[in-house]
Symmetry: C2
Subunit: 553 residues, 2 copies
């Protein structure tokens, strides 16, 4: 065995939501903890996030009188996570045992984990507020409030408190709160420590890690277990190309999300799972174009295209998706393969002068600047012909730049009939807007879409649609698929211990968050659909590792 | 080290096309070889295949005067394999170095590998014949003959000779020919030997394998190397659900395709790649319904929906894809995600009495019985209303049955407006058929589609479309996505040696065929798009292993 540079009962890899929850839970059980963070700043992607966490049956919602029955919650989660296996009738809902058990473990532990972290002072949650257009006075609707399995369409989304007037994403405060708690418990958070491998004793148990720090190799002893909460592979081009369901241009995940745990877990004998899935959203491409795929500017995140008349079209000038559907869903329209191409690989978000002039500060305004502000991500043109010319020039300017598993390839060009097709598309959309019924894509049929539309001129009852002015000027942003992060990696059991293909656990090895095969399957259940499970399973992992027997050298 | 039960210079795992080519190449280099086959029959999926192999610039095509320039062939392969990276201008066409080098290695070795195997007597190829409707007298068009990068649209597809009058798929003869050659060289082919792990010496080099045989563990020493040609994970439900791009009901792959090399290679430290991809086709679901996802009946394979008026619709009664596009392409329409479901998860192939009466024996007749024959896969009805009722009854009968990563889940039901929508769909299709122009899906615009249409009544110049009779009877088969096999696993280098994430090779470990990260990326370049690369890289693997230095115990 090497000379150990550090020793602790539990070694936690990473410092985002999953890692912090693991460290807090382990300390809470009396364990000594050391955290290793690859970056020079603690907080991981959580620090850059919206700060929401989706927690079924949480105590804050119950205090408001909301209920969230277990059987229905499990059905909702199963349906969205494993839609081609879900069946409401059999005891395990059509799922394999492990996948069902992980959903049940999430429901059964999520609320108590949050409550304990709150008691400890690591979290200070509020229910996501009503932003002004919700049918419910307390809070906005769940993303899939419309599904019959959803018996708790309000109250599952908790979020961090932001200081009044802050324009930062609340994830900053979520992250700082957890880190502050750990610092108060004297947990060392070693920055610039990139974990490169685990170390095992003669029995094959994981008893520590090897990390690179400042050009040197460091060895850190874990007396009871190692918990990985090290992020996905959002910035590893090879893994994205090899594993993901579709082509990806960008990610808002921190650039240390390089898939370390896929490699380390894999060679330690872990089964790998859920590798094809990520948590998706759309990004305005000229920002990640400047950073090799890293989405940096807050306004480059297109969570919900702003504006009642705003539409998305592909290079053929055709609408291809319900523009108001949740970002994780909508973004999968980029993945559609037809003949010899991805026809929707790049999409064009188009809005009119009314939307540009609309003065509301709104959380999902995104790429649409407030009146009087300008943005390098926005193309402006007097006519559709001029818009097409300017889009083409912007596409040409991005050619040859490096994104992630997708670039602006030669066939990403506006089709020759783009303008005439777009004109026909606008006419058809405007007809739908006039009646409030989108015959093609069912825009505005769910509670979420109507609430997160924000301001609207519509009087049809469908707040999400209003005719787009056929006269210029027109505005456009060029969008591509991006990830919050990926969510595949080593498979865990219900105690967050990593499993081998034969379902036996690897002693000493735990994981949670985006670095493991997420219990969420292919779903993103709602706002906080990544952090809710990450914090919950991080908490379980830290508690499990802290309670494990001492592992000999 | 264990007591070795068998010893050879090269141990080959599997007995399909990749494995046989590896064994033949190793023997050709003077190595002793032992082959291990998990099943009780040798031949793997190759034995069940169409027997074609796609070989660019092969000597048979050159003998016919066809040319296949290297630069263009690499462009075609790169474009289809990595469509979101492909760029014709940079030296490596926009691809990562390894992916480019593997395509180049394929082009550079494929023809000579086939020539050598032919000289040895292991292969006896012919150019795929002209089935009667090709513009070229010698042979039918390549699947992507229409692409500007395709400078060799005729001649790349070789196939095995079948005895006159045989109704077996030619893969039987391809497989038997290779196995017969190996038997003539006294290569032991140990049946019922399921390899469960590799064995390594103190230096970490792979020096043998562990196999389960008849309830006992056997140890087989490989003095120079182990070559895996053991098939993909087409029948492993967990891996399909976790890794694949879309939901899969069935596979024609042999049921031993359980992804052994993903697990074994992974824990040996291999990088895993291309896990999200498979080679796709459509299967008539009532056959795999009876065999837990295994597609058994030859007529359950829907490579090209037969009939000039035949259409495919989804549960909403809508066409969703060009019915005549290549199976690998067309099948990806099943993977389209919209809102909270896969709207095209199950599709309905509908034909009329003319097609039912059409008397031609045609290789792609598939699920349409010859006149006078009947099939349990076919639903017949006098009217569209009756057809909808009978489809619904068949769907109900398949509920609760186990397929692969997809089942007939509760939302797979005909929509209430299926009949009226289908009627409108037929009218629109018939309008297109009358003019020969499919404004929605561009059916019949490529040379392949026109040639493999088979018989046609059309006089518009578009052989693939003729109006479907609006009067009954109607016929229908229920289709879902299936795989020939998956094509992800350990990453190999250009000498077919398995690589670690840091790109160093794992000494003694080689792979080829569907068990590795296929150099084909997401493409299926044409008929034989799996066996062409499998045989070529199998040959390279066998040659590399046979030439490697002796590995100590």
């Amino acid at each position: 065995m090497p000379q150990w540079d550090h020793r602790a009962d539990v070694v936690v890899v990473g410092s985002g939501g999953a890692a912090c929850a693991a460290a807090a839970a382990a300390v809470d059980r009396g364990a000594s903890v050391v955290m290793l963070e690859a970056a020079d700043t603690a907080g991981g992607t959580t620090r850059r996030s919206g700060g929401a966490y989706w927690i079924p049956n949480n105590s804050l919602m119950r205090a408001q009188g909301f209920t969230d029955p277990r059987a229905d919650a499990l059905k909702l989660m199963a349906r969205l996570a494993y839609p081609t296996l879900y069946d409401p009738d059999p005891p395990r809902l059509g799922l394999p045992k492990l996948q069902y058990d992980l959903l049940a473990a999430f429901y059964d532990n999520a609320s108590s984990a949050i409550d304990r972290l709150r008691q400890l002072g690591a979290l200070d949650p509020i229910i996501l507020p009503n932003y002004g257009y919700s049918p419910n006075p307390v809070t906005d609707p769940d993303y899939f409030a419309e599904l019959p399995e959803n018996k708790a369409p309000y109250g599952r989304v908790l979020t961090a408190k932001s200081p009044p007037g802050s324009t930062e994403f609340p994830g900053l405060y979520l992250s700082e709160g957890m880190l502050q708690h750990l610092r108060s418990r004297n947990v060392p958070i070693l920055l610039g420590h990139r974990v490169t491998d685990v170390l095992r004793n003669g029995r094959g148990e994981v008893i520590g890690v090897e990390a690179e720090h400042d050009g040197c190799t460091r060895f850190i002893r874990a007396k009871r277990g190692v918990v990985f909460g090290s992020g996905g592979f959002a910035h590893d081009r090879d893994k994205l190309r090899s594993h993901l369901r579709g082509p990806i241009f960008g990610s808002c995940s921190v650039t240390t999300s390089q898939g370390a745990f896929v490699d380390i877990g894999g060679k330690t004998g872990a089964e790998l799972g859920n590798l094809s899935n990520g948590f998706y959203y759309q990004a305005a491409l000229e920002d990640p174009a400047a950073h090799e795929g890293y989405v940096v500017r807050p306004d480059a995140h297109v969570f919900f295209p702003y504006g009642d008349s705003t539409i998305l079209v592909n290079k053929y000038g055709q609408r291809v998706v319900n523009e108001k559907s949740p970002y994780h869903v909508r973004t999968q329209s980029h993945f559609h393969w037809r003949q010899t191409e991805y026809p929707n690989l790049v999409q064009f978000m188009i809005w009119d002068q009314w939307t540009a002039n609309e003065p509301t500060f709104w959380p999902w305004r995104g790429v649409v600047p407030l009146p009087g502000q300008s943005s390098p991500l926005v193309i402006q043109a007097a006519t559709l012909e001029q818009l097409a010319q300017r889009i083409s020039a912007r596409l040409d300017a991005m050619r040859g730049l490096r994104f992630l598993s997708s670039n602006i390839v030669p066939n990403v060009r506006l089709s020759p009939d783009f303008v005439s097709s777009l004109r026909a598309t606008l006419q058809r959309f405007n007809t739908f807007a006039a009646t409030g019924v989108d015959l093609d894509f069912h825009r505005g049929e769910t509670p979420l879409e109507r609430a997160w539309q924000g301001p609207s001129r519509s009087t049809t009852g469908n707040r999400t649609m209003y005719p787009l002015s056929p006269n210029g000027p027109f505005y456009c942003a060029i969008l591509g698929a991006a990830t919050l992060d990926t969510c595949g990696g080593p498979v865990i059991g219900t105690n967050a211990q990593v499993l081998r293909p034969d379902s036996t656990p690897i002693p000493g090895l735990y994981g949670a968050g985006n670095c493991i095969a997420s219990p969420t399957g292919q779903a993103y259940w709602g706002a906080g659909g990544t952090l809710g499970p990450a914090i919950t399973f991080g908490f379980i992992a830290g508690r499990s590792a802290a309670s494990a027997a001492l592992l000999p050298d």
